[in-house]
């Protein structure tokens, strides 16, 4: 149960808003952080916390692409396919993933490690092709970078190629 485990965080979230329902998206994120997706039990509990009906919670979830209603792999790869990334090679990128992981968009590898999704614009159009894996952005991707990212994530669970605070072009004299 979310409440038992995260009472303080839940209270803190609710205190930011004069109307309880505003806390819905933050609480859904909390539930997703816990289970990897929003479970039915979590929906019911959140409804109770916010004094909503479960359908009110469900109808909101289905509007937003970032809330998962089904389990996803440990690493959720989301590749941008919108025009600006497509101009600089996002379709090839999706092809590399297919050849390297053997999965098509919407599928998860049998070891439940990687889920591949193809998504619309993630707001990093100057540094495409790009993707998001879980909470991190990876930009200016090449086939070699993708290789490293996949093997790092598989072996260590983290990859140093993820983006830091964004600035592009980088300021002259910045350390590489």
């Amino acid at each position: 149960m979310l409440k038992e485990k995260h009472q303080k965080e839940i209270d803190d979230i609710i205190s930011r808003y004069p109307v309880r329902r505003s806390a819905l998206l933050p609480l859904l994120y909390l539930a997703q952080r816990e289970d990897g997706y929003v479970t039915e039990a979590a929906m019911k509990e959140i409804a109770q916390i916010l004094k909503l009906t479960p359908p009110q919670v469900y109808e909101t979830i289905t509007f937003y692409t970032m809330l998962n209603l089904k389990p996803v792999g440990k690493f959720h790869i989301q590749v941008c396919k919108s025009l600006m990334c497509a101009l600089v090679g996002s379709d090839q990128l999706i092809g590399w993933f297919h050849s390297k992981l053997g999965i098509k968009p919407g599928e998860t590898t049998p070891d439940k490690l990687f889920t591949l999704s193809v998504v619309e614009c993630l707001g990093a159009c100057g540094t495409g092709p790009m993707m998001q894996i879980n909470e991190d952005y990876y930009e200016r991707l090449t086939e070699q970078k993708v290789d490293q990212i996949l093997s790092d994530l598989k072996n260590t669970g983290a990859c140093p190629l993820k983006s830091g605070p964004f600035m592009w072009p980088e300021p002259s004299g910045a350390k590489k």
């Binding site: 930011r16 998206l25 937003y64 970032m66 025009l83 990093a124 159009c125 909470e135 605070p165 592009w168």
Partner: protein, 435 residues
């Protein structure tokens, strides 16, 4: 190298600048807030912003101070400020940089706006994918609160200013200001019917101002250096100040470039962004994000200010400039954008919900060489029945790529259709032979 002074990106281009409160204070940060709190009347701050000519940087370009002035004057209940950090317009990636590299500049701007409009609570509605940005902002808010720049009775002035960071969850439409408010209220992000406008019935039905990140980031500079200074930059009187243009596509050096409004597309693309990435010629430009109609190489000398881009038949929009080289299929490009709009239509208005699907299917058919000449009329008719017939501006936006590519590159559509017709003709004798 920039030939002009950077304003918004100045701090972050300094070596070693981290965006921490300490670094921001060293550059004169929060002095603007100190200058006005309790010393300048809120109404005078609004007048200053009106005089500066500052217009919204999110897309619509509405004068910021005028927007503030729409709030009811005699109202004493709660009012709200929302910082629109949804940055979802394809081609746009400036707000992310402003928030992740110099978060206090945005927060100081928000505090100034709160003081001017009399709001005690403000929310930053940041797109859900910007997890790093939301963490940086959370941390900056905590720092500013600790230092007394936010919180109860800011700097002893008696003005209370609370800022909260609220993450969206992946919906383009939540950049539309009333959809943003719905989303912030914990609902599906469907735009509201206007009027009433947010100025009177906004967040929780209370008077609300929604301003873009870049718009707000300009405020400390206007307060510090004066409205006249700001109004002298760019292309006065109607397009004052700088813009951060986000250049993407087939250029050598894509990225964010802050320049005075009024420089030409040619200067931006060839001097700042390094020109084309290969020896292929420039073919098409989207000057203001995915919602802006395409322009051609004929338009390279168009000035990047609100009026000039509008006069050229497009719009300055969010400042996202996408460049395409010779060899890029315009039907393909229009389809890619159409697929985006189809995916992101919120479904509230039938013309947009159904029309975006029909437009996508028709374009796919043409690109797959299965089209017919009459499809071109169908496309046009559909577009004309979507634009202007929806609750929000999404309807106008989604038809822009098709209408403009049909205007300038109709022959590309016709070639694909002629190929389709030729292959259909070839099939006929086969059909005859079966009898």
């Amino acid at each position: 190298m920039p030939k002009h002074e950077l304003i918004l990106l100045k701090n972050m281009t300094q070596p070693g600048y981290t965006g921490s409160l300490k670094d921001y204070e060293k550059t004169g940060g929060y002095q603007a807030l100190k200058k006005i709190l309790g010393r300048v009347q809120p109404a005078d701050v609004t007048q200053m912003v009106i005089k500066s000519g500052l217009r919204g940087r999110g897309g619509a370009g509405f004068p910021t101070g005028v927007k503030w002035n729409f709030l009811p004057k005699d109202y004493t209940g709660p009012k709200y400020l929302c910082c629109n950090a949804d940055e979802s317009e394809p081609g746009t990636f400036k707000d992310r940089q402003l928030m992740e590299r110099d978060p206090h500049q945005v927060l100081e701007g928000m505090a100034i706006a709160c003081y001017a409009i009399g709001a005690e609570t403000a929310y930053i509605y940041i797109r859900g994918e910007f997890v790093l940005g939301s963490r940086i902002l959370d941390q900056a808010v905590a720092e500013a609160r600790q230092a007394g720049y936010l919180g109860k009775s800011v700097l002893g002035s008696g003005a209370n200013i609370q800022i909260h960071v609220h993450r969206g969850a992946g919906a383009y439409i939540c950049g539309e200001e009333t959809a943003l408010l719905e989303s912030l209220e914990g609902k599906r992000g469907l735009p509201r019917v206007k009027p009433p406008f947010p100025a009177t019935h906004g967040l929780y039905n209370k008077p609300t101002v929604v301003n873009n990140v870049e718009t707000l980031a300009n405020l400390p500079h206007i307060v510090t250096r004066g409205a006249e200074w700001f109004a002298s930059i760019g292309s006065p009187p109607k397009s004052t100040g700088t813009r951060i243009f986000c250049v993407s596509g087939h250029v050598k050096k894509p990225g964010n470039y802050e320049v005075p409004m009024g420089i030409t597309l040619r200067e931006l693309i060839f001097e700042h962004a390094g020109g084309m990435r290969s020896d292929k010629k420039l073919k098409a430009i989207i000057p203001g994000g995915a919602s802006a109609p395409f322009l051609t190489e004929q338009h390279l000398d168009v000035k990047l200010d609100f009026e000039s881009v509008a006069a050229a038949g497009s719009m300055l929009g969010s400042g996202g400039v996408t460049v395409m080289e010779e060899g890029t299929s315009m039907v393909w490009a229009a389809l890619r954008l159409m697929e985006f709009f189809y995916h992101e239509s919120c479904g509230k208005c039938s013309p947009c919900r159904e029309g975006s699907s029909w437009l996508t299917q028709t374009l796919r058919r043409i690109l797959a060489k299965r089209g017919r000449m009459e499809d071109l009329e169908t496309l046009k008719e559909l577009c004309q029945n979507i634009a202007g017939r929806t609750v929000c501006a999404f309807g106008d936006a989604e038809v822009a790529p098709i209408m403009s590519t049909l205007q300038y590159w109709r022959h590309e559509y016709e070639e694909l259709i002629r190929e389709a017709e030729a292959s259909r003709e070839k099939e006929l004798p086969m059909a005859d032979a079966r009898h």
